[in-house]
Symmetry: C2
Subunit: 120 residues, 2 copies
């Protein structure tokens, strides 16, 4: 059972966290047939946090969890904090394939997306 977890930073502004939930729902619709479950988690401040969200996916039957950092910059959060949060739940569930894929800011298609927004 393949699952996808979109991980955002988390904000004190509730509307920002809701935006992440909205894009997660759009992602779930587009992922039908490719992922059985799509959910989101937050590195800090907002709920659910990364370990509990991954554990929840596993409890619901996940055999694979793809962790996708919804971050523009390859900073400390992406390089250190997210891997650290993932590590514990990974060790507790050695039979589950838990992998972190490259963060949003590194996406090849980013420039095309930006040019589309610019109106061209």
């Amino acid at each position: 059972m393949k699952t996808l977890l979109l991980v955002a930073h988390g904000s004190r502004r509730a509307a920002s966290n809701e935006e992440v939930q909205i894009i997660t729902r759009r992602l779930a619709v587009q992922a039908i047939g490719r992922y059985d479950l799509v959910d989101c988690a937050f590195l800090e401040i907002a709920s659910p946090l990364i370990p509990e969200a991954i554990q929840d996916l596993i409890d619901r039957g996940a055999t694979q969890v793809v962790v996708l950092p919804y971050f523009l910059s390859a900073g400390r959060h992406v390089a250190e904090d997210i891997p650290k949060e993932v590590e514990g739940v990974k060790q507790a569930n050695p039979g589950v394939d838990i992998r972190i894929v490259p963060h949003l800011g590194s996406a090849e298609g980013m420039t095309g997306l930006l040019l589309g927004l610019a109106g061209d």
Copy 2:
């Protein structure tokens, strides 16, 4: 003369600002034939700031400046701070078409980009 200005938040971490400059260079390559100049600016902390970057594009001959917020969330920075920064230089240059387009987080193609990163 059409120009495009990618506006990021700006970070105390120099590598994060350099990432914005790198994506701006990639954007400039992809925008050849559509924009005559592509540059970046920062809302705060890093240089150049938005008003000086827009003024620089105008000094170099821009008749149109498309301001593109490199932000995931539609928060205060996108809704209030960037428009405020743009407003002064807009009033000082009434002959130049300066427009702010929707922020990155609102892009229709975002979910497709995310699924691509996830490896599907």
